[in-house]
Symmetry: D2
Subunit: 257 residues, 4 copies
């Protein structure tokens, strides 16, 4: 059972179906359904409720990592979607104890997901040359107390990857084909890499680059996600859905020669 304390991030959930994500601090939080005294949550468990100033019930939860990615991570850059992140975690075989390379920290959303799954005994090494992104991602990771699982490098991997023998790698930046050789070389033999790209031209570029590297089992896919309205007597999909996030490319490093 999770007992909440100051500094925790919670998802507030009104009975009308509205959602907010806040950090528990010594302050009041205003909603259309009244004002909430955040301190009232301290010492209580996830799933409990508090009343607003206008007497509306607000439930609060420890958010899942899926909710954090979608609703909490600041959209300073393209975030990775849960539908894609979940598939990649399985496909890359991420598990506790793994050493994972991330090329392109970006918003830090995927850094967070990777750190979540490598556990206390694993580690994520993430490279990003834009300092403001590194800073934001560091703050994000610290907010979830996962900083000891992540090693941030403020540099382009073109300038050298400082570690070797990664168990998995994920590339999420603009010209992945330029960083693929270095990424593959830094992997353990047999390890899987993943690449996230929005355009078909990038997919073609990655395929071409893989043809000259020690890579096998290239696999390319895209994932669609469609929500349904929660109505037992009038069940139907929602009117609008996300039309595209990214193409996902994965492959395996093989022994040279």
């Amino acid at each position: 059972m999770k007992i909440l304390k100051n500094g925790d991030i919670v998802c507030l959930f009104s009975e009308k179906g509205k959602k907010w994500f806040v950090k528990i601090e010594n302050r009041h939080f205003s909603t259309h359904e009244g004002i909430v005294d955040l301190q009232q949550m301290v010492g209580r468990q996830s799933g409990d409720f508090i009343m607003t100033s206008t007497n509306n019930k607000i439930y609060f939860f420890t958010p899942s990592i899926e909710e954090l990615i979608l609703h909490y991570v600041k959209r300073s850059t393209q975030i990775i979607y849960p539908k894609d992140a979940g598939y990649l975690i399985l496909k890359l075989g991420i598990k506790e104890g793994m050493q994972v390379l991330e090329v392109g920290t970006g918003s830090g959303a995927m850094t967070l997901v990777l750190a979540h799954f490598v556990g206390d005994s694993g580690r994520v090494y993430t490279y990003e040359e834009r300092q403001e992104f590194v800073k934001k991602a560091e703050n994000l990771v610290r907010e979830f107390n996962l900083e000891q699982r992540v090693c941030f490098h403020t540099k382009n991997i073109g300038c050298g990857i400082e570690e070797k023998g990664f168990d998995a790698a994920l590339i999420d930046l603009k010209e992945p084909e330029r960083y693929l050789r270095d990424t593959v070389e830094s992997l353990s033999c047999g390890a899987t890499f993943g690449i996230v790209v929005p355009t078909t031209n990038q997919v073609s570029n990655v395929i071409r680059e893989c043809e000259i590297l020690d890579v096998l089992g290239l696999d390319i896919c895209e994932i669609f996600f469609r929500r349904y309205r929660v109505n037992a007597e009038r069940l139907r999909p929602q009117d609008v859905m996300v039309g595209h996030t990214a193409y996902l490319i994965t492959g395996r490093k093989i022994k040279s020669g």
Copy 2:
């Protein structure tokens, strides 16, 4: 670096793109590309290769959990697809140390995935009344040396769930609405449950049942997965795709009253 030994499951991968999944034993394995002496892989690392009797190169890998589900688990019953399993892992917030309830062991594919992600300090409690399924799932889990992470119960949860305070639950059997009350009651306050159902009628039934339980934040979705042909100059999706696996329903247990 992963050094292979007898009893390990490997994915064989020919240069022509054909795949096989076998356990390393003291035997020969026949393929259209020649015969492979499985013992040759012992002591070597994932990503290395061996030659067949007809001089074809066969690479071998430690399979990812995504490949295991799709290719290795015997299709005795409906398996869960990686696209769905990955999303549920994120949505249920599965992580090391968690105590997870699985209602309906089925093929054991999802049991394996859950066991993979709860780590050495977590545990999966799985209920299934059909003894032959329990047996197969136990063998499967043992094959991956995860038996200490799973507790199998050969019974219908209608006869009582023996544990309490689960951090997450997954229901994957025919009439989930019949088991939902017991499942929700066995969860920690604030915990998330997931339900996997193939038909729209089942979705409606689950929604109706949730309306009378201590549940909030019901979310219903389906996920589509489309592969692309690996061809840089003629990039296009594959001709055929899976049209449907399941609707995924998730929700949160709230404090009663």
Copy 3:
């Protein structure tokens, strides 16, 4: 070659990719790219251009029926989408000379499409009990000079269908299963009917009703439509797409007994 005259509906198309649909009248039309004197288009051909008051080029076209449905028909009620309308036209085998029954005129969008395809020698008989919808649909059909191809009935078909021997029928209203028997009875033997419904519960209701009627070859589908960004070097789907419009059900009337 189409020469434009007063009363014609045109699609204005700026070089920046913005679109407007207007009727050619004796007035000026204001856009963000300047003011357009609509009379300048009279006597000129579709595909030509005029200059706005701020010297921007605006091309004008006779709109296709696909554009009319999507952009011109007033959204007083749910419109049918081109992706669905086009498929139904093929599936119902609509062609010149056909006598077609429409149950539920609604916005008149599908009335317009049917009238377009039955030609001068065919006829659409459309039933709608809400007088304000009939009025709007009549105006719409008149605007395209197709009024001689459509017979409007302001009544519920439960009160009797006045014609017999239809070559095809389309049902697009709330409880189609209530009108299915009358619709099927009014069809020629062997003719095809189509039903458009947004929810899965309605689909189940229609299937149940068909089981007791002289109907064969029931076919149920849904159609997804995804646009791509027009960018040769960065080709990718648009971020957002329509998640759902309707389930399409079709079947054939067979001889009784």
Copy 4:
């Protein structure tokens, strides 16, 4: 009411849900449900039934154009799918009386659809350099008594299009960008063209070519089609669906200068 005669193509439909497409001739037709004397259908109406030698009921129908494309046209080359054909018919605004150019006759499936919709007063001009395809398409069109609506040219349009002022054009061959200039030049001002291509590389090539032609309003899409199982109490999509047929590109010819 349609009375069947020798030479007509019919769809046979067993009560078990099996379908066959045959031409009515003086012969017997064998099925798993018994032998059918095809002559028994002569003089009877679509939607009626006959009994097989083993006393099974077989209904017969005049097929819709959607069924003809999917089930009757010989798959000598890639056929166009009804989901795509229906949308293109709407998007190109095809109607009775139109003069339509088809570049690449292929199987003749789309020729048939276009001929169906241009009516007796319209005409389809179709170009194809492979003589065997022209022959097959001519036979197909003749089988449906639409030969007076189609003009076949056994030549590459690179050698010159013999007509001018088309109301619409459809390009369905391998390197559409090579034929786009000639196609656009042969269109009436304001007319719409459509292009059907399977790969993303072709889409990029077409976009690039359009940038230097008198073309506006380029629109690129793909259409997905998913069937459902006909079961009111267990409603769900079919397990497998078509993953890809083609990208559809449409645009408008504008006045030069």
